[in-house]
């Protein structure tokens, strides 16, 4: 027979033809012709060729069997998980993006979310530089003001507690980055609303790796060793410059200065070392697989004494039963997370500590560390100036704070296909995420921080428990009569979150105890129906009904519907034969999602809190003459009408592919409106039992355009070059903020360092929530800011708060990521750039220490170092609210460069790699780092530049 391509009728050479279950087969010749001999009636012939869908045809005795093959697009048929089910890329009607390991950032990745930083349009990930620290993740910028703005993370079907896990730096560290099969990011409501009340900030589904059936025993060992250094230091005065300023400032006593020349930042930072080991074994039989991974991670921080260690096991077992109609998957993760937390107060202390003072002082009673002292107390351990900055190195070295968090995330999944009705499937998922924290913090009596007669001790323990039981039925069928495929899902879920914590710590020479329990629960019903008509028109609708223990019976339940449509233009006759397009699909959707992460659990309920610690009141005297103290009881503020925050999302998208998939991508546009916004706002005075109340007030509107492009620039056997580019334009605006009508109403936000009660940002109608609120600085002819001279905006001849103006914002207008992956034979090379544009940063390190008074007007006999910016401004007093400090912080960062080489062998393949991260930042911003998530640059834990050497052995 002859094999031809269905679309063009042209013959296809090189097609594999195999008699199923045998080694008997052949391939088509140049003209698509083939001959198979030695074949019996009833045998199945399998026709397969790369880029085409395989066909199986039962041999019925024909002498001539002509076959047409359909071109397939592997990318389009790729299975993509969505909540409680799966679809394919070509059938997805929502804004859904899957990111696979080939696209991940490389290097010694400790926190899994950094794998996908810069990889997806609409997703902004701001990494932390703490060892094992968590990143800020924002999908479409977040939707809430006071509620949570982080996406819901679902790991192997278990939605994690959005409040995180106590005592760990990043709850996602429980997932070994090496064990992640893929991330699926659900961005719009059509995709997320099946997760209802937790979906307003997007959803990230993380799937971990499993073994595959019928695979040989494989073993893999991987080691990465990382070296990290800070890229820059805060620009402060050196000893000579500082001495000069103190000497010339009025009213100072230069005799208080020392004779040393200490760079305090050099004292607290170091080259960090890290190592990650992974051992993985896996094997697959015909109905059973296992995969076991052992991980050990050690990562120092660049801040001395900071350390993160992880010892983890991840085991996945799958078993198929009853002719593969029942699949059982057991996934168990065990994680031992150990931290030594450095006192991050040392970062600020190092910036402001007098550089003329030495690190050590042989006469010091404070463990030999220099401390500002001179008090008259006869006890040498009481002579420190209590208001003075503490020795930064002593802060680090005189504190121990170690915690251990034992955690398991485990789930058992049963997936049963009914024998008598194979279209119907039942899926049951039982999961638990349980962790125990045990920590101890101490400072010795010789620490100048300790003011008691006993050493500081703080024992803290806690339990987090997140238990889940959900099930759903799924029915998939085709109705030939109307040429429609349908996919129906309905289910129920119950999830409970429990957090308990206990603390026992010294205060005022005694131990104090605290104890809290916070429990909340969610019960949900959900359903989804998807129709594919004529393989061209897609319609999907989903519905979730959530009940939360956080709301009163009247407001407890809420509905989260969505509907979306898709049009597979590619399958229309007028495009079917196009050689230009390889994919074209239009999508549109609308949906409602919610947010219930509002902080407290009993915000609708009036509850009473007894006083603890030292908050009693004297009522007269006891019979023995001692004062009688009465514990107090406080009624808490509440809003009986507290209800769900609701987000409505409209989304339209276009998926496209050109030139046989060589260039593909998506464009999405969205409009989102949050109603009944949960915001902590001033309550009308007297109406409630606090000044601020978390309640449903206001609205925000956000809009955005997201473009993601993938290009295959070169694709040959030896040389491949892939490019990924994404860009996101975002805009978020508060459209309503209070019950009143005052257009000038605003709520100050964004506390800064340098004085209490100072806020630099505002929430106000018409503005982004990260908008700065500042005076307009007046400059002299040389362009120097004139101290204290601001624009008198309202013309009343005085400068008051009324002259402050909304000015710029902390979030970017647009941001992008750009990745190149190049391979030549066994050599792989990749690099990723990431950039934010239109974002501004308030340089609080300059404003809080960049004036002479900050160092010379002190409550006790010591001085504090100044930011070198004072040499430019010559400011004598604070000018916190000058827009001079609001600086443009656009940047482009070379985030990741990786080179690896594969040495193939008989029994073992070896891959060697070299990765550099955070190699280069192009920015005009003067300061440590322009990438500051809240837009206020203060005591920032510096991001490190890392070099990582890796070796991977697969046996």
């Amino acid at each position: 027979g002859t094999v031809t391509e269905s679309a063009t009728g042209l013959p296809v050479p090189g097609v594999n033809i195999l008699v199923k279950g045998t080694t008997n087969g052949t391939t088509t010749d140049f003209d698509g012709n083939y001959t198979v001999s030695n074949i019996n009636q009833g045998d199945v012939l399998v026709f397969s060729f790369l880029g085409f869908s395989s066909r199986e045809i039962t041999f019925a005795g024909q002498t001539n069997l002509n076959v047409q093959l359909d071109e397939s697009d592997a990318a389009l048929e790729e299975v993509v998980l969505i909540g409680y089910g799966a679809t394919t890329r070509q059938d997805a009607t929502g804004a859904v993006e899957k990111i696979s390991p080939a696209q991940f950032n490389r290097g010694a990745v400790v926190s899994p979310e950094t794998l996908i930083a810069g990889k997806s349009a609409g997703v902004r990930i701001t990494p932390s530089s703490e060892p094992g620290g968590g990143s800020e993740i924002r999908i479409r910028g977040g939707s809430s003001l006071s509620g949570n703005n982080s996406p819901l993370i679902v790991v192997d079907g278990i939605p994690l507690d959005q409040r995180g896990v106590q005592g760990v730096r990043n709850q996602l560290n429980a997932i070994n980055p090496d064990e992640i099969e893929d991330f699926v990011i659900l961005k719009d409501a059509a995709a997320t609303s099946i997760y209802g009340s937790r979906a307003s900030n997007g959803v990230i589904l993380i799937t971990t790796k499993k073994g595959s059936l019928e695979s040989d025993f494989a073993m893999d060992y991987d080691i990465k060793v990382a070296f990290g250094q800070i890229t820059d230091k805060v620009d402060v005065l050196n000893a000579a410059q500082f001495r000069d300023i103190v000497t010339n400032a009025p009213g100072t006593n230069p005799a208080l200065l020392g004779n040393a020349d200490t760079d305090w930042q050099d004292q607290i930072y170091r080259t960090s070392l890290g190592a990650i080991h992974n051992v993985t074994v896996s094997e697959g039989f015909d109905s059973f697989t296992y995969r076991v991974n052992l991980n050990r991670t050690d990562q120092q921080g660049v801040l001395k004494t900071d350390l993160y260690e992880r010892t983890a096991i991840n085991a996945t077992l799958t078993q198929d039963l009853f002719d593969k109609n029942l699949k059982i998957t057991l996934n168990a993760k065990g994680i031992l997370d150990q931290n030594h937390f450095a006192d991050q107060g040392a970062i600020g202390a190092a910036v402001s500590f007098d550089p003329t003072q030495p690190v050590y002082d042989p006469t010091s009673p404070f463990g030999g560390y220099f401390e500002f002292r001179g008090g008259s107390d006869p006890d040498p351990l009481r002579t420190e100036f209590r208001q003075a900055t503490r020795n930064p190195l002593a802060l680090l070295e005189q504190r121990e704070n170690n915690s251990t968090n034992k955690r398991t995330i485990s789930n058992l999944n049963l997936d049963y296909r009914f024998h008598f009705l194979p279209e119907l499937r039942f899926n049951l998922n039982a999961g638990i995420d349980y962790s125990e924290l045990d920590g101890f913090e101490t400072r010795p009596l010789t620490s100048a921080v300790v003011g008691d007669d006993i050493a500081y001790e703080n024992y803290y323990t806690g339990i987090n428990r997140n238990s889940l039981l959900d099930f759903y039925f799924n029915y998939k069928s085709a109705i030939e009569a109307i040429d429609t495929k349908l996919d129906l899902t309905a289910g129920h879920s119950y999830q409970e979150f429990y957090i308990g914590d206990r603390q026992r710590f010294t205060q005022s020479n005694e131990f104090q105890n605290t104890f809290n329990i916070n429990r909340n629960a969610l019960e949900s019903y959900f359903a989804r129906a998807s129709f594919d008509i004529s393989n061209r028109y897609l319609i999907s609708a989903s519905y979730r009904r959530d009940g939360s223990s956080r709301f009163s019976k009247e407001n407890r339940w809420s509905n989260f519907p969505s509907v979306s449509v898709g049009w597979k233009l590619m399958n229309e006759p007028f495009l079917q034969n196009s050689t230009f397009f390889s994919d074209l699909k239009l999508r549109a959707g609308y949906g409602v999602t919610g947010n219930q992460e509002i902080g407290g659990n009993y915000g609708y309920l009036g509850i009473y809190t007894p006083s603890r610690g030292r908050a009693d009141v004297q009522f007269g005297y006891n019979s023995n003459g001692s004062p009688r103290f009465v514990n107090t009881l406080r009624p808490e503020e509440f809003d009986a009408n507290l209800k769900w925050e609701e987000l409505q999302t409209y989304n339209a998208g276009l998926d496209f592919g050109f030139f046989n998939g060589r260039l593909s991508g998506s464009v999405d546009g969205y409009y989102r409106r949050t109603e009944d916004l949960l915001a902590t706002v001033p309550v009308p005075a007297g109406a409630n039992l606090s000044d601020l109340l978390t309640t449903n007030v206001g609205e925000t509107v956000s809009r955005g355009i997201e473009v993601g492009l993938n290009g295959i620039l070169v694709s040959t056997d030896d040389f491949n070059w892939n490019v990924n580019y994404n860009i996101t334009f975002q805009d978020l605006e508060i459209t309503r903020l209070s019950l009143g009508e005052d257009p000038n109403f605003f709520i100050p936000q964004g506390g800064i360092s340098g004085g209490v009660g100072n806020n630099i940002q505002i929430w106000k109608e018409g503005y982004d929530p990260s908008t700065f609120f500042v005076y307009r600085q007046v400059y002299n002819e040389q362009g120097q800011p004139i101290e204290g001279a601001y624009v008198d905006v309202n013309g009343d001849n005085q400068i008051t708060e009324a002259d402050k103006q909304a000015y710029k914002k902390g979030t970017p207008d647009y941001f992008m990521g750009f990745t190149n992956s190049i391979s030549y034979k066994n050599l792989d090379f990749s690099f990723t750039f990431r950039g934010n544009f239109g974002n501004y940063v308030y340089n609080n390190t300059q404003s809080s220490n960049g004036f002479v008074g900050a160092g010379t007007v002190t409550p006790q006999d010591y001085y504090s170092n100044l930011n070198a910016n004072v040499l430019q401004t010559n400011f004598q007093q604070n000018q916190f609210f000058s827009d001079y400090y609001v600086r443009r912080a656009d940047f482009v960062r070379l985030d990741n460069v990786s080179l690896s080489y594969l040495i193939p062998g008989d029994a073992v393949n070896v891959r060697a790699s070299l990765t550099g991260t955070n190699l280069l930042t192009i920015t005009d911003y003067v300061g440590l780092d322009p990438e500051i998530s809240n837009g206020i640059d203060n005591n920032f834990y510096p991001r490190t530049r890392n070099v990582v050497v890796g070796l991977n052995f697969s046996f």
Partner: protein
């Protein structure tokens, strides 16, 4: 699983239904009303704040009230960088000032707390819970104290804001918009409340730390003394009536040094005989970063030795003006022992607010006892109680009415003043005669006797010396001082509340 969604607190927090099954809860709730003035939250010294809009330590009632009444006057300046705190002394505050806002919030919070107490102890509520016997009798006393504390806070609201929102126990808890009241109505409400509880509340000197009949009379006296400011109608005769009740209630000017009133043991060193209503503090049990902790720590700086003040380190920055020092003959070296200044290392003139060495420090309050020792307690809190109402104030109020020729007995008035001056000078050499008893003398004598006790702003307004008249360093924001417009006799309604409560109208001028 739907029942699983009915969750209530499982730790020490309790629902209102559960909490009042404990008979002790009523006294504990009452204690919270007193703590509303002394403390900042449910965890000492900080950790579970009552108010969230400002740093917890700053949000303390007494600290804010001190700031409103003293920082705005010649008695105090503070050199800190915190928010708009400098605008208080400069009298350039706006409706956005966070300290004024939080004072307002704190007062209204205190009112809301007392309202909730009155709701939870209504006859109906108590009967529903089967409360009777001694507990029910005690609760009637508690209710009178709650109403006193509400009247006290409403008096602060009247004095500072004139036209605040008005709520009683008949209003709900929620997000509703309270109605605004005016000075006349609020004056009448406070007066009627105090008169209603006058004979229900505990007799004078019943229990140290709790409000009693004498506290009610003091508050009525202060209300009537300033009645012309509040309502336009003077009520001096009532001042004589109620100060006389206070004076005859058995309090005395004890034969101990003036400074004893402001020491760690002022609840038992003799000074307590004069104190009518203290805000109590205890270094161990009543800890906060506001109140007396703030007043003592913030006044210690420069060459002052923290140990002499019974603290482990001063915060520095709180000083006084040269104009106030000059109220004492001889200034800081006056023979008047009430002139408790620290001048070493300080200039008398305030040429810069931000320079902590400008202006004398005030060494009035200390956390040491009469022997100069602090409690055996090392950390940074204090035992010193704040004498909110004391007999000397009643004497001065009585004498003021006499000096204004509005009634009272001249010889009694002169006798009262001389009792204070004899304590101040240790002898009768500086006693006055009837001819010296002028309104101006009274204003100055009140400053000398009662400075830093949170009376000054009210006194200056009553004598019309706060804004249009009266000059001191940095008043008006200029070093030599200037007058300010009279609308600043009232504080602005905070912009944040005007923004959320459409029932409110801003005070004139702002």
């Amino acid at each position: 699983c739907q029942d699983e969604l009915d969750l209530a607190p499982e730790d020490e927090r309790q629902t209102s239904a559960a909490v009042f099954s404990n008979p002790a809860s009523y006294e504990q709730f009452l204690a919270k009303l007193y703590a509303g003035i002394a403390l900042s939250g449910q965890q000492g010294p900080a950790g579970q704040p009552d108010l969230a809009g400002l740093d917890e330590g700053f949000s303390n009632y007494l600290r804010l009230y001190f700031s409103m009444q003293e920082l705005t006057t010649d008695e105090a300046v503070i050199g800190w960088n915190d928010g708009t705190i400098a605008n208080l002394h400069a009298q350039t505050w706006t409706s956005g000032n966070e300290f004024i806002r939080t004072m307002y919030s704190r007062i209204m919070y205190q009112v809301a707390l007392t309202n909730e107490f009155l709701r939870q102890t209504s006859d109906e509520a108590l009967s529903d819970r089967g409360v009777d016997g001694q507990l029910r009798t005690d609760i009637q006393n508690y209710r009178a104290e709650a109403r006193f504390l509400r009247a006290l806070s409403y008096w602060h609201a009247l004095d500072l804001f004139g036209n605040p929102p008005f709520i009683t126990e008949n209003d709900p808890i929620g997000a509703f918009l309270p109605q605004q009241t005016d000075s006349q109505s609020l004056f009448a409400f406070i007066e009627s409340e105090l008169k209603a509880i006058e004979n229900q509340i505990l007799p004078p000197r019943h229990t140290y730390g709790r409000a009693d009949q004498a506290a009610v009379w003091m508050l009525l006296s202060k209300l009537y003394l300033n009645a012309e400011t509040y309502t336009g109608t003077p009520r001096y005769a009532d001042v004589i009536t109620y100060t006389t009740k206070v004076i005859e209630a058995g309090y005395e000017i004890p034969d101990v040094p003036y400074q004893n009133l402001f020491l760690a043991d002022n609840d038992r060193n003799g000074a307590q005989k004069e104190i009518i209503f203290p805000i109590t503090f205890d270094a161990l049990n009543t800890q906060s970063y506001g109140g007396m902790t703030f007043i003592i720590h913030a006044s210690v700086g420069g060459t002052m030795v923290p140990r002499d003040f019974g603290i482990d380190g001063g915060w520095a920055g709180l000083r006084t003006t040269q104009q106030f020092v000059d109220k004492f003959p001889g200034g800081a070296d006056s023979d008047d022992t009430r002139a408790l200044f620290h001048s070493d290392g300080q200039t008398k003139e305030v040429l810069s607010i931000g320079n902590f060495n400008h202006g004398y420090a005030v060494a009035k309050y200390k956390n040491v006892n009469v022997n100069g020792n602090r409690g055996d307690y090392p950390a940074g809190f204090v035992d010193t109680d704040f004498p909110m109402f004391r007999l000397a104030d009643a004497y001065l109020m009585y004498a003021e009415v006499v000096a204004r020729n509005q009634g009272g007995d001249v010889s009694k008035a002169v006798g009262y003043i001389n009792e204070l001056r004899e304590r101040a000078y240790g002898n009768p050499s500086q006693n006055i005669s009837a001819g010296d008893l002028t309104p101006t003398f009274i204003l100055n004598e009140r400053a000398r006797e009662l400075y830093w006790e949170a009376h000054r702003r009210t006194d200056l307004i009553r004598f019309n010396q706060f804004t249009e008249n009266g000059i001191w360093a940095f008043k008006g924001g200029v070093p030599q001082g200037s007058t300010t417009p009279s609308y600043r006799n009232l504080m602005p309604i905070p912009a944040s509340d005007l923004g959320v409560n459409t029932n409110l109208t801003q005070n004139p001028g702002y």
